[in-house]
Amino acid sequence: MSVRCIRTPATLSSITSSVTDLSLKERTVAPAPSKPTGAAFAPVSPVDIEARAVSKNFADTPIFSDVSFRLARGEATALVGANGTGKSTLLRCLMGLIPTTDGSVHLLGQQIDAATGRQMRGLRAQVGLVSQKHNLVPRLSVLSNVVHGMLGKHPGLRHWSHSLAPQSSRDAAMQALERVGLADYANRRADRLSGGQSQRVAIARAIVSAPKILFADEPCASLDPSAGEDVMELFFQLVRDEDVTVVFTSHNIAHALKYGDRVLGLAQGRIKLDATSASLDTADLRGLYD
């Protein structure tokens, strides 16, 4: 029996995934080519996210089990897999939004299931989330929605609305809107935006507090291909230079390979693929959907 579709990562020395499931189509894999920017087995970057033998069940139904990996700072990781494989659930477990059934998650060096509510809020204040459905509050202004992105760092009444927010916060929110090209829409109601514009506002809300980690759950799934491409381009343009660790789920194989430094593939409740995107091609990922 041999391990298939598991590549030795060239630049990601932190990968320790328990990838031993053998159900993917067997193929010979050449060692992954080095990324242009770094030599193979580069010095270990700080680990921002670590999953240790994480399992999740809903009632008696197992979603995934024994999932382990370490994600280094500044790394963009694509989480791919067919519908129902638990990508979004895994993402929520990593953020501590839902508890794991077994195993542990470490975020920025802290075990989240052992963290107090206050510690957890402190950790999450360094995290941003971009969701498939944008999740803006429809009746509020675009600017208020972006100001809400600072509630983790600045809790309380003054950040409930842009009109109550201190000037510095309003400036930061406007700056975030400028970065996504929507400064002119600051006073518009969020439910009067197109899908692409809504997602840009959601990105502005996620980056306004300068997070160390960004999670994106199928950020362009509800957009047309052109708007989706624009959003992904913008998202990664914004985070790439900031040394932000990104984990995103996607059904778009091309996006996973283009924007991810690394690809984690979920199938049949296990991590079945863990490799650098440079060492993969489209055919490798298609196996996850068979």
Binding site: L97, L129, N135, P138, R139, L151, G152, W160, A202, A206
Partner: protein, 272 residues
Amino acid sequence: MIDIAPPRSGLVRFERPSALNFLGYALGLVVIVWCLAGAGFSLDKVASAPPRFADFAQRAFPPNLEPQVLARLGWKMVETLQTAVAGAVIGVILSVPVALLAAKGLIAGPWVNQIVRTALSFIRAVPDIAWALVFVVAVGLGPFAGMLAIVIDTIGFCGRFFADDMEATDKGPAESLTATGARKLDVVACATIPGSLPAFISTSLFALEKAVRSSTILGLVGAGGIGIELKVGFDLFDYPTAMTVILMIAIVVIGIEQISGWARTRIIGEQR
């Protein structure tokens, strides 16, 4: 050649009820007859009612439209509306924190949710006129007792529906704010309540309609408003004045329902 199957001769158009179903129907019928007996249903009374009603109508029409009567009843109607609006507004405002405690998964734990929901059920189980009697004893005769009765009644109504609305609102925005480290109170204030606002407005307008209807009869037990004029009119056999009161109540309640419906469409209709 197309093979068409002959119709099945054994098919019956109506199936006979099973013995259990038949027993259920029979039991239902017995319960209805029992209730009618308890309600004093009498065909003789039904047969004799139209002449009596015609007699009442003859004595009540035309309604009393004397200017001084209209002025007195008009001011009583204004007092009725003041009681209703004040009670409904205070009740709606107080309902928001109560609903936050009653709604599952927001700021309070399951025990608090259950206790508050039980208290709201108790409030709703007691009719508004009974609350008015309680407050007449507590604060004396007059519209203040009526207003307090409407406040309590509105909390029972809105507290429950606001809580249901917040539980049913889209969880996405709340999750996105939770993921950035926002506190529960901030999440509720910035995502849950704004998301539930259209439903809150609709429920509040229904509460106002309900309060206006209630306030017109709370006067029957001395809790202020135009209800006392209705009672006095019937007690003194002054049917034309009583008819004037009935017509005024109908006009005001229908008017409030129309305004409320228009406001609901205007406010909630803005949502895309």
